[in-house]
């Protein structure tokens, strides 16, 4: 491999995989906000089934 190819191979790995690592570390350091605007009742359900069918 030529020197320039090696440099760009390493650079691609460092920048892109490094970017991934940085993003993961940033998320692990602060997974969620500690404060939110007030409100936001949780309207999710955990999974699929419409409730009236389960009875």
């Amino acid at each position: 491999m030529s020197a320039s190819a090696v440099v760009l191979l390493v650079l691609a790995i460092v920048v892109v995989w490094g970017g991934l690592l940085a993003a993961i570390l940033r998320l692990r350091a602060r997974p969620e906000r500690t404060e939110y605007p007030p409100g936001a009742e949780d309207d999710h359900r955990e999974d699929t089934a419409p409730v009236e069918r389960d009875t």
Binding site: S4, L9, G19, E46
Partner: protein
């Protein structure tokens, strides 16, 4: 445009107020989103595109495109889906009623793509099986188009090819089963199994490829920079296209996936993880594919530049089988490659069909199971009719060209122009992202999605349409391109209009976006839980509950009180 149902002071229907499906948590969402983004394009498109557009120098426009268009549009999708909490039609309608049609346009793009994407996954599954006895023999090109696909001239044929038909039906059956199980138990669970398996299989493949004779020559060909390419506008367009098509953005997928996150959920930082994961996999694929191509060049005694068929289906189903045949331990390598291809395609296919399923669930009040079975069976029949026949490959190639370059790019241009220029909702969406996320977006984000993205994408769209009209595509007959190419777009638009005009089973319009914008505008007339406005920090305790402990299926009688208790 159908304005139906309850608005104003009337109480909303119980069904419309039912809690939404949800990922089990942040990691579940991230894995599913990566599974969606990492698809066939990462493996068979990126390496060839990079090689042909400056080699190592392509890294520069690629990263610029990732940071200036890919990630910003990904965030735009997240913001729309999460703030307006719905599939593409619901979310766009809640953004502005007349925008519902854009949501259906995106749903129909996904419907069309799913029809042929399934076929490619089925091919990969077939070739996974063929790997074990190297069934393609000495002439993989003849095997793929002749023995396997039994390819005929462009046209419409009903000569079914059993070798394609059977795996295609099997892929549809598995897909329907996964979607029917719902977001957490189906889509997320499938991704939790297949994404790690994909990464592992592909890592083994890449490591193996690096020890092949000639691997260094392949990597040399891919990474040697041609800096002059940076002066070529087409190279930059190629970079923006690659990023754009690779990230699963602007056609409803990320809107739908973000809508299954709870309201208090971090969006932008997980988005960075997803975007960089996708690119990381592309770099990995580039290394694996070109190290392997280097081996082929070495075996044939030619330069890597002389090898043909270095991207797309031909790379996967002709060039790779040829390499596998010449390689010590070829069957194992082939199984790894085609297994990876099938898994990457399958997890992306799930996300594409979830867009369609969610759109129909919300508009027609269907359960996930109903939507999955009804839509899945219809799609499977159409898919089998079009793509398991002797004309399947040509139909697939043509529909893919139009659905992507006209459909998805058009959808992105419409979305950015309408949402950010016409409706001027950029500040609201940025406020939303910043209110729930840990990675803050400055005003630069609005500039990128409102100015740069529509300019670049608009140029891509117009130049491609001009080329398709002037030069046709791949030398296929004009009547065929009109029918399968432009016909696909006409079909998408027509069905989107019909679906937009149909009545909602339960109106999605009685909806209050949270957090209120502008901040402090609490809309006092809206119903709220007794202590909802004052929970403040206490409210955050809700987010710490274990997944599955609240609102689990099978506990209908306890849902209401349980949720109120949590809210306190």
């Amino acid at each position: 445009m159908a304005g139906t149902g309850t608005t104003g002071g009337a109480p909303a229907t119980p069904r419309a107020q039912q809690p939404r499906e949800e990922w089990t948590g942040q990691v579940g969402f991230i894995i599913a989103a990566i599974g969606s983004a990492v698809g066939l394009g990462n493996i068979w498109r990126f390496p060839g595109v990079a090689y042909e557009n400056g080699g190592g120098a392509f890294l520069v426009p690629y990263l610029v495109a990732l940071l200036t268009a890919g990630i910003p549009i990904l965030f735009l999708d997240y913001a729309i889906g999460h703030r307006f909490r719905g599939s593409a039609p619901t979310a766009f309608r809640r953004l502005a009623r007349w925008l519902e049609g854009l949501g259906w346009f995106q749903v129909m793009i996904c419907f069309v793509i799913a029809l042929y994407y399934t076929a490619v996954v089925a091919w990969a599954v077939s070739f996974f099986v063929f790997s074990f006895d190297l069934r393609w023999g000495d002439d993989p090109a003849a095997f793929f188009t002749g023995d396997y696909l039994q390819l005929a001239d462009p046209g419409v044929s009903l000569d079914f090819v059993p070798g394609v038909l059977i795996p295609l039906v099997a892929v549809w059956a598995v897909t329907i089963a996964v979607l029917a199980a719902g977001v957490a138990r189906g889509v997320q669970r499938a991704n939790t199994v297949f994404l790690p398996l994909l990464v592992l299989a592909f890592l083994v493949l890449v490591v193996r490829s690096l020890f092949l004779e000639g691997a260094a020559d392949g990597l040399d060909a891919l990474f040697t920079p041609d800096w002059a390419a940076l002066g070529d506008a087409n190279v930059w367009i190629a970079a923006y296209s690659q990023i754009f098509f690779s990230l699963s953005i602007a056609f409803g997928i990320m809107i739908t996936y973000a809508s299954y996150r709870r309201r208090r959920a971090n969006l932008t930082t997980p988005g960075l993880v997803v975007a960089f994961s996708n690119s990381s996999f592309e770099i990995l694929a580039g290394i694996g594919v070109f190290a392997t191509l280097g081996f082929l060049a070495h075996e044939q005694g030619v330069g890597v530049g002389e090898i043909e068929g270095i991207s797309g289906p031909i790379l996967s189903f002709v060039t790779f089988p040829a390499i596998v045949s010449q390689m010590p331990g070829g069957p194992f390598f082939g199984a790894l490659f085609f297994g990876s291809l099938a898994m990457a395609g399958f997890t992306s296919l799930l996300s594409i069909l979830q867009v369609v399923s969610a759109g129909f669930q919300e508009k027609f009040g269907w359960s996930p199971r109903q939507a999955s079975v009804r839509l899945g069976v219809v799609s499977a029949i159409v898919s089998v009719l079009l793509f398991s026949t002797t004309t399947g490959l040509i139909a697939l190639d043509t529909a893919d060209q139009w659905a992507n370059n006209v459909g998805i790019v058009g959808s992105a241009v419409l979305m950015t122009v309408l949402v950010l220029w016409v409706l001027r909702r950029g500040p609201e969406l940025r406020y939303h992202l910043n209110a729930v996320s840990t990675f803050r977006l400055g005003a630069w984000w609005q500039v990128l999605v409102a100015v740069l993205a529509p300019l670049v994408l608009g140029y891509m769209l117009v130049s491609r349409i001009v080329t398709l009209i002037a030069d046709g595509y791949e030398g296929y007959p004009g009547w065929y391109l009109a029918l399968v190419g432009w016909g696909t777009i006409a079909f998408i638009v027509l069905v989107a209009l019909v679906l937009t005009a149909m009545r909602w089973r339960h109106s999605p319009d009685d909806f209050v976006a949270w957090p209120p914008y502008p901040p402090g505008d609490a809309e006092p007339g809206r119903p709220r839980p007794p202590s909802g406005g004052a929970t403040g920090a206490a409210g955050t305790t809700r987010d710490t509950r274990a997944p599955g402990t609240a609102g689990a299926p099978g506990t209908p009688g306890t849902r209401g009180p349980a949720d109120e208790e949590v809210a306190r």
